[in-house]
């Protein structure tokens, strides 16, 4: 048996924007085991429900994550609306869907950039982020914020988008799509990129299921599961089919995300076609009493919000399960047996968002 060494990876590491610490047990260059530790940036946001009333907490929920912020706010609103039996107007549901998909596109572009950066392809990284900036501009124009949208509230949406603006957005998205596809081509066909991702970090379909993987990590292993299939917001009306790949390696996970960008643009197009004029919010009266589990599909996978209210204006308990937390166990399984140099790429393919995993 050769010598085993433990190499610490993170919480501060050039490829990691997020503070997760992994103890990598290596034999020569091969990783035998990875032991994670998290808890560097716990902020106690769940406890804060006792201090912020249920309407104000939307602002906090949105700040749980800096990238999928909108969907966090949306899921929280969905939980409270269900407890209070609030019927959200159709137009608001469509707007929520459009913003969710815009946030998915910008999150996936961000991820593509970071991944290119992790294997040292700097120009590809910059091109991905240049495109992301264009999407952020659309978001800023329609919601007022770049990453913290602040456009969702209990009972509907805070802002409307005019139909002229919706058409303009659609035109812009289609023109950006050509550029995104050009970048996508490089990710999927470039020899060096393929060399770094194909056959690396394998996760079988059975493992993906039993270890509880979520999001692109799960769908890249051939499991067609996406919470959008449950039809929350207006996904039920527009019809939704998930993007699935079967290989289960880093390349498949990258491919799922690239294809999801196209799928998101199609979803936005359907929403723009189907959206009708109408109110964007209903008046919220009274206080919530009851409990509910709300689920939604974030760019990184399924998020679960459990809200329990007791008839006062403060919730009694809020529990958030973020996708990254669910993906840590499958990540450890994929790290076993990989080469040390592949660790950054594999870690990035779960699209880690540790800040939201710790809340």
């Amino acid at each position: 048996m050769s010598n085993r060494t433990v190499i610490p990876f993170g919480p501060q590491h050039p490829v990691l924007p997020e503070p997760i610490h992994l103890d990598l047990v290596v034999e020569d260059e091969k990783v035998i085991e990875a032991i994670p530790s998290i808890g560097f940036i716990h902020r106690g946001l769940e406890k804060l429900v006792e201090k912020k009333d249920f309407i104000d907490y939307v602002y906090v929920a949105e700040r749980i994550c800096g990238i999928c912020s909108f969907i966090h706010g949306l899921t929280y609103c969905m939980a409270v609306e269900e407890v209070m039996k609030i019927e959200v107007p159709d137009r608001a549901q469509y707007l929520r869907t459009i913003w969710s998909e815009l946030s998915r596109i910008h999150s996936h572009l961000l991820w593509l950039g970071l991944t290119a950066d992790s294997f040292g392809f700097e120009s590809l990284f910059m091109q991905s982020w240049r495109l992301r900036e264009l999407i952020l501009d659309i978001i800023e124009e329609t919601t007022g914020g770049r990453v913290i949208f602040g456009s969702c509230k209990v009972g509907g949406a805070r802002r409307d988008i005019s139909s002229a603006k919706l058409d303009e957005i659609m035109k812009k998205l289609r023109s950006y799509q050509a550029e995104m596809n050009m970048i996508g081509e490089v990710f999927l066909n470039d020899v060096t990129v393929k060399h770094r991702m194909q056959g690396v970090g394998m996760l079988s379909k059975a493992d993906a299921k039993s270890l509880g993987a979520v999001g692109p990590m799960l769908r890249a292993s051939g499991v067609a599961m996406d919470i959008r299939m449950m039809g929350y917001a207006s996904y039920g009306k527009i019809g939704f089919t998930p993007v699935v790949e079967t290989a289960g390696d880093c390349y498949a996970r990258c491919k799922v995300r690239i294809r999801e960008i196209d799928a998101s643009i199609d979803i936005i197009e359907k929403c723009v076609e189907m959206i009708k004029d109408g109110p964007i919010e209903v008046k919220v009266t009274g206080t919530p009493n009851g409990e509910f589990f709300a689920r939604s599909e974030q760019p990184r996978g399924e998020a679960v919000y459990y809200a329990k209210a007791n008839g006062t204006k403060f919730l009694q308990r809020l529990r958030v399960r973020t996708p990254t937390f669910a993906n840590i166990a499958p990540l450890l399984a994929t790290l076993k047996g990989c080469q040390l140099a592949d660790v950054p790429v594999i870690v990035l393919t779960i699209d880690p968002c540790i800040s939201c995993a710790e809340r």
């Binding site: 912020k52 104000d56 602002y59 120009s123 590809l124 091109q127 240049r130 900036e133 501009d137 800023e140 124009e141 329609t142 919601t143 007022g144 914020g145 913290i148 602040g150 805070r158 802002r159 050009m182 970048i183 081509e185 490089v186 066909n189 470039d190 020899v191």
Partner: protein, 116 residues
């Protein structure tokens, strides 16, 4: 297989200028919908304090005696809540952000001598 997939993009980059804004030589363009800093038309304000109660970060301080309206720029998260609730519609979010500073600072308004 493709070896030089980025060639087209690289060539395009060679002949076009930089994508980034040349700030501060070129002024920053703000988008029309941006939520920047909160502005008040103080003549219209009736000092009712509704905005203060609805602000999620307690950034606003309104006093009736003396008549002052103040906002802590660093606490404000530009959420638009105060703008939505003001009965006199005297608040608005400007597209420009508030200035950077080293310490928290307050902007006070009012006919009488505003407190610091």
């Amino acid at each position: 297989m493709c070896l030089l997939g980025m060639t087209k993009t690289v060539l395009k980059n060679l002949f076009s200028g930089p994508t980034t804004e040349r700030y501060p030589f070129v002024a920053k363009k703000f988008l029309s919908g941006t939520r920047g800093k909160v502005d008040i038309e103080i003549e219209k304000c009736i000092y009712c304090g509704i905005c203060q109660r609805k602000c999620p970060t307690a950034a606003i301080l309104v006093t009736k005696e003396p008549k002052t309206w103040a906002v802590n720029r660093m606490s404000c998260i530009s959420c638009n809540a105060c703008v939505e609730v003001c009965p006199k519609k005297c608040l608005a979010l400007n597209v420009k952000y508030s200035a950077c500073a080293e310490k928290p600072y307050q902007d006070s308004f009012g006919p009488e001598k505003p407190h610091a």
